[in-house]
């Protein structure tokens, strides 16, 4: 009887939208492209996926890319973030606030701003700075930050950020991925992108 009931059932169309229609992600080709507020251009060594900004969630100066989906890996570009601006949109009334960027921030202060971003917004319960060292970026005296964090989905993630404050504005490229496999797999892409970065 069970079998009869089962055979009376038809197959249906596929679950959900599948891979048709409009996606939040756009294709990034292997060539020089503008990112963020378009004051910066980079070239990736293989195709990536760019998240299309939304009016209410994102800010113009920040652009997010991913290879395998943001739960697993992501590369973010901060371009020309001005004094007093935040990396994410937030309401003034929220109890926990991601700190604003200030033009006179030193590298440890920018690193601390990123750490708070992860703790306040990213569900991070443990954050370890692995290293903070000087590094040239876009022809300026910048820094490289290496870090690891444990998030509330129990996954350890690892990241690297390279940035500099130029004319009082923050330029930063950040790579963050699952520590198991995904960080190592795309780190060369990140380094290639950083090496290719040019101000316009």
């Amino acid at each position: 009887m069970l079998v009869a009931a089962a055979s009376a059932l038809s197959a249906c169309s596929s679950i959900g939208a599948g891979e048709s229609g409009f996606s939040d992600y756009a294709f990034v080709p292997v060539k020089r492209v503008d990112v963020g507020d378009d004051s910066l251009s980079v070239a990736a060594p293989r195709p990536w996926n760019r998240h299309r900004g939304t009016l209410f969630e994102d800010i113009r100066e920040v652009e997010d890319w991913t290879l395998n989906g943001p739960i697993l890996d992501g590369m973010s570009f901060v371009t020309g973030l001005k004094n007093g601006r935040t990396l994410v949109r937030q309401l003034k009334s929220e109890d926990q606030q991601v700190p604003k960027f200030r033009s006179d921030m030193t590298a440890p202060e920018i690193a601390a701003m990123l750490e708070s971003l992860y703790r306040v917004r990213g569900g991070t319960v443990e954050f370890k700075t692995l290293s903070l060292q000087p590094r040239q970026f876009l022809g300026a005296n910048g820094f490289e930050l290496d870090f690891e964090h444990l998030d509330s989905d129990e996954l350890w993630r690892k990241g690297r950020a390279v940035g500099a404050v130029i004319d009082g504005k923050l330029y930063l490229i950040l790579f963050d991925a699952a520590r198991a496999h995904y960080y190592g797999a795309a780190l060369p892409d990140f380094e290639a992108v950083v090496a290719s970065a040019r101000l316009k």
Partner: protein, 258 residues
């Protein structure tokens, strides 16, 4: 393992009529396992509950026990039919040669990968670089190490959820779909609903080579199928989930099939 929010977003998909939907994705070069292979079935999340009139899920310990036994038996039988041996792992300490902590790390990454597959393959938020290219995700070196240490060739991560309508609901015949966004998933379009997902990992490469979602619902309360509390129902679920693995796109093209 846990399917947390994963299960919640998936059931926000509407079902039309009474039908069985399966949608599988596979690695381009995937050939369904055959011959003598060893399959590790990792900590299946099996929930069987009574769907109350009001739409709550009342978990039933005795049904869960029955379902686990039935699925275990069905899996073993089905895999034996293919010449394979399957080990059904219930607790993290049960994988030979592998510590609970090591297994936990693989499970955590697997959860993140499965969540990504659902998001980007099933829910419409596709990644252009992966579109139309089969299944392109991996668990990496940790999974390969798991295979080497345990001696298994494939790992199957499985989730099966079966809600059986209680008499109250049958009487009322209420149909609705609600609350998936607020932390309460009511996959109760009609009488009985089944939500099953499986992902197959090739432990020689660490790749997720096959992924399938089965969502079955009957609009007519009272018709039960694939009832996990019965051996036949469990066998049917296993067959639907694992029995119809299709080879990957590239393989099918070479064989002249589409």
């Amino acid at each position: 393992m846990r399917y947390r929010l994963f299960g919640i977003t998936l059931c926000s998909v509407l079902l039309a009529g009474g039908c069985v939907q399966t949608r599988q994705y596979a690695d381009m070069e995937f050939t369904p396992p055959a011959g003598e292979y060893k399959l590790l079935v990792l900590r299946p999340d099996i929930t069987v509950g009574s769907l109350t009139t009001g739409g709550m899920v009342e978990p039933r310990a005795d049904w869960i026990d029955e379902a686990r036994t039935n699925i275990n038996a069905a899996l073993k039988a089905q895999q034996a039919g293919r010449g394979a041996s399957a080990l059904f792992v219930e607790h993290r300490t049960e994988v030979p040669g592998v510590s609970a902590a090591e297994l936990a790390e693989v499970e955590r990454l697997n959860f993140a990968v499965d969540e990504s597959i659902v998001e980007h393959k099933y829910l419409g938020d596709y990644l252009p670089t992966k579109r139309g290219r089969g299944l392109d995700w991996t668990l990496g070196e940790d999974a390969v190490r798991l295979g080497e240490k345990s001696g298994f060739d494939y790992a199957l991560f499985l989730h099966a959820e079966d809600q059986v309508a209680s008499t109250g609901r049958i009487a009322l015949g209420v149909i609705g779909l609600a609350g998936c966004f607020v932390g309460f998933c009511a996959p109760n379009v009609g009488g009985a609903t089944q939500l099953d997902y499986a992902s197959l990992v090739d432990l020689k490469t660490g790749q997720v080579v096959w992924f399938n979602v089965v969502q079955a619902g009957s609009e007519v309360p009272g018709i039960k199928f694939g009832d996990l509390r019965t051996p036949e129902g469990a066998a049917q679920m296993v067959e639907r989930l694992l029995g119809r693995m299709k080879p990957g796109q590239s393989v099918r093209r070479r064989e002249g099939k589409t």
